[in-house]
């Protein structure tokens, strides 16, 4: 990633300008295409944020949809409340703060999951995060304010191309800079060998929890965008399969490979649109793909060339 464009800030700037320009033309765009492109942006945020947890830090979270649902519900409840009490003009200003609050609450959830996870690794963590996702779902199903099993509907359609891609660019930028910073080398150290990392004076728990909090924050942002894109949400949307889809993106792209993961997010969002004919086989294909990749190409489909650059600069 950093080899392609030397200065990540430049990359961020280009991405934001591109997002704004694309957003200007969005009104002329076919609604279907616009919807799919927004889906791609949301998928990129989800995949890149999960990549921080599952890829760079080497943990295994199966609960990303849980964090996403927290962001989706919190931000949707804020804008729905604002819609009632304020006019349409004021509502427009509420969108970003609502997303931000959704992200922060999701980050808090990430902290709650991250702290008990400090004792766990690998398979246990996978089950705990999966269980956490289920618990969140059961809670939303039972909370009146969240609409119970039927969920929330009539959420104002406020997610546009511009904000989706500005936020996607920020997510990529933040995760990329974090991992490539001196501090961020710690994530990779924890990934490579936890025992060695802690004997070098790093605190693996802190890195794991940080990864969870930041990953959950962006998952919450993605959830907020999702809620204001689809306008209806219910607990079933954020089930295990949703988490698994994001996991497939990260594995397909190559765990810890930002570029590959973005590519996988784009391809896996587009694939069902192009392959309507085999839609009923989609999950079977995903499952076979995963098994095949793990046996034949565990480094991911889009991982070419040399390995991660050495630690010395």
């Amino acid at each position: 990633m950093s080899r392609i464009l030397k200065d990540p800030r430049l990359l961020l700037l280009i991405a934001i300008v591109a997002a704004v320009i694309t957003g200007l033309g969005a009104d002329q765009m076919n609604l279907y295409y616009r919807g799919v492109i927004i889906d791609i942006g949301i998928a990129i945020i989800l995949a890149v944020s999960l990549n921080l947890i599952n890829g760079h830090t080497g943990q295994f979270s199966l609960g990303h949809a849980g964090f996403m649902s927290v962001g989706a519900y919190v931000s949707a409840m804020i804008t729905l409340a604002a819609q009632k009490s304020m006019g349409a003009d004021a509502l427009a200003w509420m969108f970003l703060p609502a997303l931000l609050v959704g992200g922060l609450v999701a980050a808090l959830a990430g902290l709650l999951v991250g702290i008990p996870s400090l004792r766990l690794r690998g398979d246990y963590l996978a089950i705990v995060t999966l269980g956490f996702g289920e618990i969140i779902r059961v809670i939303f199903q039972n909370v009146e304010a969240a609409g119970g099993a039927s969920g929330l509907s009539g959420i104002p359609r406020m997610t546009g191309l511009t904000w989706t891609f500005i936020l996607a660019a920020i997510a990529v930028y933040v995760v990329g800079c974090l991992v490539n910073s001196t501090y961020g080398r710690g994530f990779i150290a924890v990934h490579d060998d936890e025992v060695a990392a802690s004997s070098m004076g790093l605190n693996p728990t802190r890195y794991k929890v940080t990864a969870f909090v930041i990953g959950a924050f962006f998952a919450g942002i993605a959830g907020g965008l999702f809620a204001h894109h689809k306008t209806t949400i219910n607990p079933q949307v954020f089930d295990f399969m949703k988490s698994f889809e994001v996991v497939v993106m990260v594995i397909l792209g190559g765990m810890g490979r930002t570029g590959g993961v973005i590519l996988a997010a784009i391809i896996l969002t587009l694939a069902p649109e192009f392959l309507r004919a085999v839609a009923e086989y989609r999950m079977i294909i995903y499952a076979l793909l995963i098994i095949f990749l793990m046996i034949a190409r565990p480094q991911g489909l889009f991982h070419f060339g040399r390995k991660r650059k050495p630690l010395t600069h």
Binding site: G58, F60, L62, P116, R119, L120, G122, D123, Y124, A126, I127, V128, L130, G131, F132, E134, I135, V138, I139, Q141, N142, V195, F240, F244, V247, I251, E280, Y281, M283, I284, Y286, A287, L288, L289, I290, I291, M294, I295, P298
Partner: protein, 303 residues
Amino acid sequence: MNEISQQLVNGLALGSVYALIAIGYTMVYGVLRFINFAHGDVFMLGSFAGFYLAPQIAKWFPLPSWGGWVAVMAATMIICAIIGIVIELLAYRPLRNRPKLTVLITAIGVSLLIQYTCQHQAFFGASQKAFPPLLPSGNFSLGGLSFNTTQFVVLGVTLVLLAALTFIVKKTRIGMAMRAVSHNSAAASLMGISNSFIISFTFGLGSALAGAGGILYGMTYTGIEPLMGVSVGLKAFVAAVLGGIGNLPGAALGGLLLGIVETYAGGMSGVSTYRDGIAFAILILILIFKPTGLLGSKQIEKV
């Protein structure tokens, strides 16, 4: 009082199924140190094997009858044992000596492959099916508790299978080999034990128990569908962790406890809608406060 004790019977019946599946998780964890995510789906396949076998077996044994039931149970357990061995052979064996995470991801892939293939029209279809009655119905009471035949059989079969398993693991040569592989696989193979054979055997044994669990589940709840292995499997895994993963009596104890807790919670107003979250709440609590489980022993990480 009567209702409370009756809930206990229901809880024990549900817990028996959890226990049978939990043992499979624990055994595989013992020899391979990974969670076989597809185990819950082997349980589901057991239920469907019984569903499709029953009409065939009814040609020789009239169903419902005791003889026919034994035939269905035995055939299902053999089929599930073969499925378990084949899964290990195709999906997990090529990954021996790879990072555990790789095997775990593969296991999730296998689990989803089974679920979605079975959901397809060409196989079982996504809709719920009614499990045929295998045993003559009847009620009787024992020590003030009233059982129906199914509940009694579920408990009895579980106890018999647990006793048989304990005998295999503790008293036979192959059981000794299993314990040796679990303790130190490298040393075991130096002693002339074929690791691959023991792993296959463990998968077969665990899957046979899951198949038996599938039949007992079908007899108790009558409705079966291709995704039922997900939640039952995950809860059985929680039961295995609750009892201490890698520990056979622990898995049985954890299963029974979880079944009882869930049944009581399901009967309480205000809590019942959270029923499906309880197992995971227990899991998180046990991992925070006693990660070795109720009967497990502490493992020290060696560098």
